[in-house]
Symmetry: C5
């Protein structure tokens, strides 16, 4: 995960310039669902032009474009649905902040969907255009994450989509996008728990970089999900004919989840930050213990080594009574041992009293 993950045009580029950042040569995969109260029609299109037919009908149409979109497709869609240049530019320049733009008879939303790929956080930018009876959703993932919704639509007993306007479909998509943070947070929670255990038991060097990486991921996730929460707040308050008042209760539910996600992120971040302090304290504690072992060993043996050194001296003057007479004493050697045992006992007692042993 890069620190700077935004794509941008060189400063001074004209607004609305469309340059693809990942020029893919594969054809686009367009999944279209056309539905009315009676009927749900589903089709896979090869080119964006084929949407034209559905546009003219008086049915609700969901156009799902999966995989990295190329400039041509985008421009075709832009012309067909009258999409604003600045919006199209945002679709291509990934790494945008979630946002909501109100055009005359269109809503443009950028939403951020957090997913885990190979145990690493990735933020997928989903772009949504909503008109009176169509919704275009562009998602750079190859695999369509919105399959669960399509499944609900296909279910003939489920009349919710059919009986409601296109804003209910928008809600369903946004709800899925928002809720996809929960599995990610669950994985993060597990990681935190693992780290916490490791920290208190056996801090390793690796733990430090693990904490750091998680903190970065939390920070990054919060940076994109915070404006997403704002987006949902705005959607709930906006007075736009495209948003029906009776869908609001669903948006409120979605917003509640969004708030809960942010709160979880905040507290995870708090905990991750606190873990660095624990790491430091834990290391200091271990250094202190290491020191104590060294000090005990050294403090006991250094005086003893000195004593045996004394009696290793070679002072010899047969005429002098002062030339290490101890060496010739009858009990000299046992007495030295006695002295050394006494010193050791004294130091052990001293360390015990200090609580070091």
């Amino acid at each position: 995960m890069a620190y700077f993950s935004k794509h941008y045009h060189s400063p001074g580029t004209a607004p609305g310039t469309l340059v693809s950042t990942s020029p893919s040569t594969r054809p686009v995969s367009i999944h279209l669902i056309d539905y009315t109260e009676e009927n749900v029609e589903e089709e896979r299109l090869a080119s964006p032009q084929e949407c034209q037919a559905y546009l003219e009908r008086d049915t609700k149409t969901w156009i799902q474009v999966n995989g990295p979109v190329n400039v041509d497709t985008l421009r075709t869609l832009g012309d067909m649905f009258n999409l604003h240049d600045l919006a199209l530019e945002d679709v291509l320049n990934s790494g945008q902040r979630p946002k909501l733009e109100l055009y005359d008879d269109q809503l443009f939303l950028i939403a951020a969907m957090p997913i885990l790929q190979d145990d690493a956080l990735e933020i997928v930018q989903v772009s949504l255009f909503v008109g009176k009876n169509y919704l275009i959703c562009l998602c750079p993932l190859e695999e369509d994450p919105f399959e669960p919704i399509r499944k609900r639509m296909r279910n003939p007993s489920n009349k919710r989509f059919a009986s409601r306007d296109i804003d209910y479909l928008l809600y369903a998509l946004l709800d899925l996008i928002t809720d996809s943070a929960f599995p990610v947070l669950e994985a993060f929670g597990d990681k935190l728990e693992g780290m916490e255990l490791e920290l208190l038991e056996q801090p390793r060097k690796q733990t430090l970089s693990d904490i750091h990486r998680l903190k970065r991921e939390l920070l990054f996730m919060r940076r994109v999900l915070w404006p997403q929460r704002e987006l949902l707040t705005t959607l709930m308050r906006v007075e736009d004919p495209l948003i029906n008042p009776d869908t609001l209760i669903y948006y409120r539910d979605c917003h509640d989840h969004s708030v809960q996600i942010i709160e979880l992120l905040e507290s995870f971040r708090d905990m991750a930050t606190g873990m660095l302090d624990i790491y430091l304290s834990s290391i200091s504690q271990r250094t202190n213990e290491t020191m104590r072992v060294l000090t005990i060993i050294a403090t006991i043996f250094i005086p003893l080594t000195f004593i045996v050194g004394v009696y290793g001296m070679n002072f010899q003057n047969p005429d002098s009574p002062w030339a290490m007479p101890e060496l010739a004493w009858y009990y000299g050697y046992p007495m030295v041992w006695g002295l050394m045992i006494a010193i050791t006992a004294g130091l052990v007692w001293f360390f015990k009293r200090r609580g070091w042993l």
Copy 2:
């Protein structure tokens, strides 16, 4: 206590899907109190259908459902009292944020009741539905925590419940839920005091994990009680026919307690965070002391050991006057002792001046 404690449906699940997270097979325990100004009737029901009879009467009815609720009971209650699907889903998915939903002629509240179980914090999610003349309260605890209120209701001299609308009962329940934070905070305060003493006297490795755990509990408690305070603020300001203006003074009292609880939590958290710094400082202080002991011992004995080493050398050249003549001096040995005592005295004086002894 898990980092991630929320139950959620897999993203893309239809709103209002009811799946029990803890499928209990035991029958539900329903405790019903039906009261008017004159009379208090109390009954234990075996199935939710039996409530029907009370619903039709013009009396105030409190339906208390204890223990983990199963999907069937919930659906029956939902049909009978016309409860919203999204609300029922929230009742089952525990770990929700406290919230207040205003439906047309109903209030739906989720409240969080902190309790201590085996010295560990637990947040119990209490769900409340309030209608014109009924209140349904669902609490996953086996043992009914609201017994004190029932006791007050049974007291014939207490006319408060009887003479007031159902919103006074709601207040009584919310007041009990809010106030149950006080014993928890008292226990936390005692823990903090214990830790503080331990930290300053004798920091152990265990202390570190104790602080960390308490910090997590405080963080967790704050995360759920903060929106609970908001809920009470909203209740005080909401203009809903179900809330009488003359009950407001009681809600205000309850809100005051809630504010005080948050403030206590904040300052406890501040103190717990500060304790990590104290732990670190305390450990560093101890390392410094250990170091000082080692340095004193080593600095005194290392030179002495060197000296006795010198006179342990075996230079012998009978022809040389330079071959360690000291060894043959008459006062050689006492002179060496004199030198060593002088060095020791000098070092002791040096350490005293530095304030190390």
Copy 3:
């Protein structure tokens, strides 16, 4: 000072339950001042019932109840002056947040007066009831802290109290309560200065717990004085017939002091928090110095000890020219000394260059 200092009823207790937390058996001490524009009458009453006489007159009456109040006195006063049950409960449950309640023709205030007792911070809860022509002030202290105000009232040349309504008396009391934070803060400032000096000169273990205690006291004081500031803001903005517009300038002055106190508290807290860092840095600096002494001593003597050890070896083979021939050299011993002096000089030069000596 306890972490958890609030008195509370067990959750589920009926609102307005009066239970004394410190059942004192001593009779209450009631000090009454009855004043008009012409006259100031002062009396000590033995029982609350005696207030009745003054209540009926058209004079301003200040009823000061000192010492821990018992339930009976409170109930008598409550009945006589028509005080709200919830308010009376708050008077008894000490450790309340400062607050202002507006009743129909009465104000109820809880104020927090910080004082120092035996060098420890104590927050005294003063409860005030203000009516059209009476003010009841309950203060749990034995000694009356409001004597300076009484002195001003007795002064016949001071017409301010006499010529103004009861809200001026309220101001005078609140002003004294607010300003009593200044001597406390002055004492704290002195303590901080002392600690700072100690920290930078000679950090002791005791310093750590002193800082911690002061931080707790500052945190605690801020927690109660912050809502007191809000209370004064509300008093300035409230439109209540009991508060005259021309007293507002005095309330504003009092509010200004309150703001200044909070700001001082905040910056004291900032400094106290910063001191922990200084303590840690200071200890680390000392550890580093200790280490340096040890390293210098050890680094110089360890090689020397090795050298003298070499020549303490007993290799002897009269036939071998390799069996420590140095021992038999004519200048062997002085050469060893020369080598050792050279090594010492080299190391001293090395340490000098590193700036360690």
Copy 4:
């Protein structure tokens, strides 16, 4: 980069005093573009007086003054275009906060353009005066940073500039100024990544000062870009005849970028701050490892050295059976080796169990 980078007049100087801080002697370089819907005229002027001719025509004129401006040029422009004295003073006193001043028929903006020069952040102050049909832009850089815009204007197929009022030109300039933060942030992101790797792998002393420098640059950049964001917010909300409602969508886009830049800055700063903790933890971890090596070596060899010291003692009393009889034992020497090997094995086992080896 200096901590204090603002130019100011000595306190008490009259407002509007013009003193150049960097008296350049070179002639000014003025680049003028005069454009209408049909035509784009471009010219380089030698003196500000030559602008006069264009001012009178009914065309849109962009006057770009590059390089450090001198007092005379400024005064000439001031007289010609009726610029306010306080604004001119701000142009000369570099290091101003970005701001927007609304005069009667003129806008005055100070914008901050971050660029990297020799790998160091520099904030260039761009001053803009906007009137009904002219825009004066003063930029202290020698090389014109706005060339990309001029290129777009020269393109005959681009009718945006020609067909819109002068506020579109203002947008284009502000957009370029805002977006020039992206390359700077990209470079900072790369630096952060490098530091992070270094910190976790091999923290050097230099890393500490690198982090510190980056933190200062981030802090500095945030200090000037924060008010720039406010400026753009104000521009979007201001009701001024010079700003057309249909340009607002462009300003909103520019504002969005500005918000994203601030958010990136904030999270970079968070990461940089966290890195100091990682550095400290990393160093502590290394100290702990060093200590462990020392302790293992010392703890193993100190007892061994003591033992060999014991048998280096010279106790000799031919008559005493206590005078180190071990020395004369048949297997004395191998037994000592056995003892020493046993001790070493014991200690190695002890260290293994502690996880130190």
Copy 5:
């Protein structure tokens, strides 16, 4: 600089009590400027009573009182200009928060002027009373800091003061007071730069207390300048006949400076706080280096000393082939040297690989 720098009356003192905190016996120094559009008259008065003459004229009068003011002068001025008692009390009680009081036909301002005295920050409290055609400014400094303004007034070509109302003079004074923070901040910036260099190169014990002192000064300065900024905001928004709309542009300029000063203070404080972390990291780094030197020396020499100790043992049993036969080997001594060189080489290689050498 004291932590608690406020003068206050003992709690319970009557509002408006005037007690001088520094009873000076020197006569007051009053500097009066009386000016109209045509004429500027300047005079030094010996007593406040002499102002009376100017008060009655229809001219603008600036009364500047320098040095510590005594109670009598203040009371005379108070009576003459009808100044409020609470305001006079504030003038005497130095250490007030900057504030603005609107009286009926008068403004009362307290402003804080930061200056450096002997390299230490001092906050001078300037009190200003503004009436229809007079301005009284009381400044406790002996030397008049407002001389630059007087110089501008004396300049006959400068018609700004003469042609405008008294509020322009107020602006000029406030502008000078505000801008006097710039030289102080410039000095602080230089100090920070010096400290930073010292910290990264050679942290000394003194550095710690320098950082701490600077942090305190920044904290203190921010505490008084923050409300000063508010004061200027209020002045810009207040609708008072004493403030003319066309002076507002000047007040806005002054407010801009004030904002910039606060921002600088904040970022200086951030940097000073960060420096403590750098100090700690730097010390830890040094401790680690010291440790490394010790460990290298000890780890190399301790095994060698052990080896030479082995061959210093006195095992002698002429009959035993096990009694240290090495001592009698022909190449015994060179072999020991070979062993020791091999060990040293091995350890040096080990340290190189670890990056310690």
